[in-house]
């Protein structure tokens, strides 16, 4: 097998062959180049699994959007494009510093490498802080997943909804309350008894706009796309134009951004580990495999966000 030995990999000028005394060379590899290539191939295989892991959610997104285009163009308006855009830029910049860190490791400037890694970490923290504000804001407005989406947010609202001539009620409020709302949640206790003890609303009484007739059959052919009169922050439950099943948008939104957020957290842990090892002087142009592989992981996190951003925030 000549492939291994005659490896003319991009990094080989730096890598070179320096015998079997390399402390980083595992016993079952012949050369550091072979070990580096193996690590890199392994990482790319792992990245492929990440693509497919997220890929499942992309498929889900496509099917939901195909079935309910009106939900997506309506609910997208509740997302803050500015925050999303800023976050995209933050992540791109952190990706850039990560790439530079790898470069500095290659040209044997470990100090600059650590500086770039710290900048990357800051970018990751910034991304999560912005994400945190987005999430809390939405949860405050009950822009959440599943049935909870239809739970009124405040006393006034609950009274208004419960007492008005247009009773908009979540299905079986009692069941919803019992199953999905934390009993210690004070808001929940404030929902008037009239609402709580109401017999389970028969399906036909539910206001169609709110309660999602349709199921998979609701795929609207030629139904006009609803332009919501409210931007972010307005109460969706009062909006008569809200298309059915709008909760689906937030379900998939939280799934995809949440899973991405988990990957950001893992990436941060990786970067911290790289910084610690970098500070201890473990990396040089002769051995920087972990930095390179950690970098690849961080770039895939960025790469996935590059798709998530237009998919959720930029729907016309």
């Amino acid at each position: 097998m000549t492939e291994i030995h005659a490896s003319n990999h991009a990094h080989d000028e730096e890598h070179g062959d320096h015998g079997h005394h390399d402390p980083h060379l595992a016993h079952h590899f012949e050369t550091p180049a072979q070990q580096f290539d193996s690590g890199k191939l392994g990482m790319w295989l792992f990245l492929a699994t990440e693509v497919l892991f997220f890929g499942g959610l992309f498929v889900l997104y496509c099917i939901l959007r195909y079935n309910h285009p009106e939900i997506f163009s309506y609910a997208s308006n509740y997302l803050d494009t500015v925050m999303g855009g800023v976050n995209t830029c933050v992540l791109i910049l952190s990706s850039l510093t990560m790439a530079l860190a790898v470069r500095f490791a290659q040209i044997n400037k470990p100090k600059w490498m650590v500086i770039c890694l710290v900048l990357t970490l800051l970018g990751a923290v910034g991304f999560l802080v912005i994400k945190y504000f987005e999430y809390t804001h939405k949860i405050h407005d009950h822009l959440v997943w599943g049935s909870t989406f239809y739970v009124p947010t405040s006393v006034e609202e609950a009274e208004k909804l419960g007492g008005g001539e247009n009773p908009v009620v979540t299905t079986e409020p009692a069941a919803v309350a019992a199953d999905f709302v934390d009993p210690s949640d004070s808001e929940q206790e404030l929902i008037p008894d009239s609402l709580m003890q109401k017999p389970a609303t028969s399906v036909s009484q539910i206001k169609p706009a709110q309660m999602a007739p349709g199921g998979i059959a609701s795929m609207a052919e030629g139904e006009p796309v609803v332009e919501p009169p409210y931007s972010s922050g307005a109460n969706h439950l009062e909006d008569a134009d809200m298309p059915p099943n709008t909760h689906l948008f937030f379900g998939i939104y939280y799934c995809m951004t949440g899973l991405h957020g988990v990957h950001v957290l893992i990436g941060m842990a990786l970067i911290v580990w790289l910084i610690v090892r970098g500070l201890r002087g473990h990396f040089s142009h002769k051995y920087y495999t972990p930095v390179d592989l950690g970098g690849l992981y961080w770039h895939i996190v960025d790469l996935i966000w590059i798709f998530l951003f237009p998919m959720f925030y930029l729907i016309h």
Binding site: L41, A99, L303
Partner: protein, 119 residues
Amino acid sequence: MSPGILIGTGLALLVLTVLTVAVRYIDVGEFNIYIAIGIAVVKATLVALFFMHLRWDRPFNSLFFVASIAAVVLMIVFTTMDTAQYAPDVIKGNAPEAQKTLDELAPDAPVAVKYPYGM
């Protein structure tokens, strides 16, 4: 790959981000989504080629990565083709009527009775 290439890639990515946000406010009908995805693909390619070094890396790494993306695309295409055909036909009418139909056809079917519209 000099730092210049990396910084250039980073700048290009930022410019494309601004561009894709800007396009959102222009109405070109259904092309909006294609433009948005197109720009995202360009950005992703830039990241993969330069930040992730695929431009200089072994071809097999690129091949496998592309294969994984192809698998996702395949799944999207097949499921969407399927959905496009079956969705309107499975149960006619909206859910309340579907329940009625079910009650008529299969009175004992344990479907959607326990948790109408989810729990």
